[in-house]
């Protein structure tokens, strides 16, 4: 009788040890994303409560892309503003006499992947009465 109890207890223990050795799945092979190039030479021009952004994008990389425009605000971080197909963007109805900072990125519209964002570019935007 004692033997049966002990064998059962030990078997349960071994099955517990077996449960501790479940395996993890395979690692996905390689990094699969190829992002569109980053827009270059981002410039911001501030005038009368409006910021005008311009940038270049290499013509040879110009597949089906759109550009996403972001503004970077203190305490809020990076905020998405809009998407455009042009290499410029006019951000209007701003509060004058403030600094505004921007980033732009290209989005490959076929695979829906957004590439690296540009460095932040800041510009002072005067009020309309200045």
């Amino acid at each position: 009788m004692k033997r049966n109890y002990i064998v059962t207890a030990v078997l349960v223990g071994f099955i517990f040890l077996g449960a501790c050795t479940k395996e993890h799945k395979d690692l996905p092979a390689g990094f699969r994303y190829e992002p569109p190039p980053t827009p270059e030479d981002l410039e911001v021009d501030g005038s009368a409560e409006t910021a005008t952004l311009t940038w270049n994008y290499p013509e040879e990389s110009r597949g089906p892309v759109q550009f996403r425009v972001y503004t970077e605000l203190e305490f809020y971080g990076l905020l998405y503003i809009d998407t455009t197909e042009d290499t410029f963007y006019i951000h209007s109805q701003l509060i004058g006499n403030n600094w505004y900072c921007y980033k732009v990125s290209a989005v490959d519209t076929v695979i829906g992947l957004e590439g690296w964002r540009t460095d932040t570019v800041c510009e002072f935007v005067p009020s309309a009465s200045d």
């Binding site: 002990i6 064998v7 030990v10 099955i15 040890l17 077996g18 501790c20 690692l27 829906g112 957004e114």
Partner: protein, 157 residues
């Protein structure tokens, strides 16, 4: 399933060996390493085996918990990576995924070593009981010294 079959084979082989040796205190060592030794008077050896088994099992539980956590974090990072729509998020989660994969691999090795150690100590405890001769009858001596008695108990290690 493979593990369960292997466990049944090991346990049946060990219990058959115990049965062949006549059983007795050996059954206690089948239940947990060291108990049989302590019951038959080998306190030092019994404590050592019991301690080794405890350390292996506690280490195994800790490694298993950490492993499960790494696998969970790996799966989460993988899901974020596969569904990323920004290259920055994809790169960040890909790196997290690789790190957690490495962690899981390392912890998996620890777990296997600790399972091996736990089973090894268990088998060693049984073999020790089956192979070792019965310890000599450890005497309790009583000596009269002037106005006092000296009682001596001898332990075997």
């Amino acid at each position: 399933m493979k593990t369960i079959i292997l466990a049944v084979i090991i346990v049946l082989a060990a219990t058959s060996a115990v049965e062949a040796s006549g059983g007795g205190d050996v059954w206690y060592s089948v239940l947990f390493p060291g108990i049989g030794q302590i019951k038959s008077g080998r306190y030092g050896r019994g404590t050592l085996l019991m301690g080794a088994e405890m350390i292996s099992l506690v280490g195994l539980v800790i490694a298993d918990i950490q492993y499960d956590r790494s696998v969970e974090q790996y799966e989460r990072a993988k899901a974020y990576y596969l569904n990323a729509d920004y290259i920055g998020d994809a790169t960040e989660n890909y790196n997290i995924m690789l790190k957690k994969w490495d962690d899981a691999e390392k912890l998996d090795t620890y777990r296997k070593v600790l399972v091996g150690a736990a089973v090894g100590v268990w088998v060693l405890g049984i073999l020790d009981m089956v192979i070792s001769d019965d310890p000599e009858n450890m005497p309790v001596s009583l000596e009269y010294k002037g106005n006092a008695f000296l009682v001596t108990k001898t332990f075997s290690f």
